[in-house]
Symmetry: C3
């Protein structure tokens, strides 16, 4: 199970690192700024999660694999042909962000739910769901606040709503189909909701 | 005492949730953005307080009542007649913000002082005062930073100063008139200072 | 050793408090806003460090000396002749910021490395280095985000890179020349790299 969670966390780390790197590239930061924003996005949500669960120092501090992965990914994204492929046009940029941000959101939500049960085995439903959502959205919020943008969570259709739905799936299905399948199902649901909502421009009511 | 603190926290949660919701409505966010900003404002200060005091997971994670109250309040504020009443004119918006933000600031400062004594019974005066001020201002700072505004704490007359005065009252009077009355006195003082300073436009010296 | 670390922390507190105060003065905040931004910058990095290491309540909460020093410094900086000297011209402002921000970055990085070893004696190299960098850059990031600016860490040449180099020096030399000299060497290296990079406008590659 630990290996499975580690693999998921690394997938989320890569995805969020790419999202942070491409935001920094679009803002014309230098290579170090790109690495810093990738790192912040990739490890920020997990750090917030661990501090809230009382797991200190956070996993990111105990094992260099997360930080090194994020920095390595940011350097690869910065290579000229790669960054042109990922951010060369507005459409390419939008698609990279949608894919990578959604994948990170899905995976970190599922991992957050799972680690909440590890830390608080006797808990009810609320703590894992809330921890999962905060873990999922945390990295992206840090990325956007540090880059001076309005956080995605406020402007992207159904963003936190997708994370909440996925976290509920993780919690409700873990007793039925086992934790691993529940995590995959929850993460997949988040990615699917995000992509559908972006494709069909689902909108929620807005104040007039 | 626990029930009394819980009631105060719920009053603060409602007040800060309204303040977050009306900021989001003025920024024309959709209903989910409104709920998220209300939630962040309402539970943010308490989360920061609990993490700093080493109380993990924070109370907001252990008991859903805070988060659910904040979300419910945000949905009520979003109802058309309610939001028109609270934010329809610039003057209405200003008055809603002044009342709700001041009430939240007052209550969370008093609760922060009180919980610092619970967590660190042997402490001197400084820790409860500092914890109280950070608990009081934390939610509003998160709200403003996430909404992309200059934090109130920098621009509103006497903001942190009011919180500091109230926290001192809570600490100094608890041995004299008991903790509950000291908390009510401290919170009331904060609200009064804020409203007087806004009404009479008290100003502090500014760099020229 | 404790006294030595305390002296370094106070130097860093004064330096970061000045940097926060002059940013607030340039933004024409009132005297209370100046004190708040100075305090945030001066104690923010240490608070983040202590929370991540599981040291709660953070040192800033247990001993008022840090907060009082920061506030006192901000009031001195606010005195008319002092603030004119430090921020009167764009060049004076730039030089004040470079000197004070670099000094704070250097000292807090070295202190962060050292306190990571205190908290986690059995640790490898990665945890102290990462803790040192986060402690060093944390105060400045909070300052810039709260002031609504793009964080220095993204735009100043070699900023986090300098902190990383200094943290590595602290870790690698502590077994060779002792902890105190390693800390001084690491902090000095950071200040030197920052000043050289600003003077000669070292640039890293930027996305085109």
């Amino acid at each position: 199970m630990d290996t499975f969670v580690l693999i998921l966390e690394l997938i989320g780390t890569v995805a969020f690192a790419v999202s942070g790197a491409v935001v920094a590239i679009r803002k014309r930061m230098d290579v170090f700024g790109v690495a810093i924003l990738a790192l912040t996005t990739a490890v920020g949500g997990g750090m917030i999660r661990d501090v809230l669960l009382g797991v200190t120092p956070p996993a990111t501090f105990r094992d260099p694999v997360y930080a090194l992965t994020a920095i390595l990914v940011s350097l690869i994204v910065f290579i000229k042909p790669v960054r042109h492929y990922l951010t060369g046009t507005h459409k390419a940029y939008q698609q990279t962000m949608l894919a990578m941000d959604s994948l990170g959101l899905g995976v970190f939500t599922a991992v957050g739910v799972s680690l909440a049960y590890v830390s608080q085995p006797e808990t009810g439903m609320f703590l894992p769901v809330f921890t999962g959502v905060l873990s999922g959205v945390g990295g992206g919020v840090l990325r956007d606040v540090m880059a001076g943008d309005t956080p995605y969570i406020f402007i992207k259709h159904i963003y936190a709503c997708a994370s909440l739905a996925g976290a509920l799936v993780c919690v409700l299905l873990r007793g039925v189909i086992g934790q691993a399948y529940a995590m995959i199902g929850g993460a997949a649901l988040i990615v699917i909701i995000r992509i559908l909502s972006a494709t069909y421009r689902w909108n929620l009511p807005r104040a007039d």
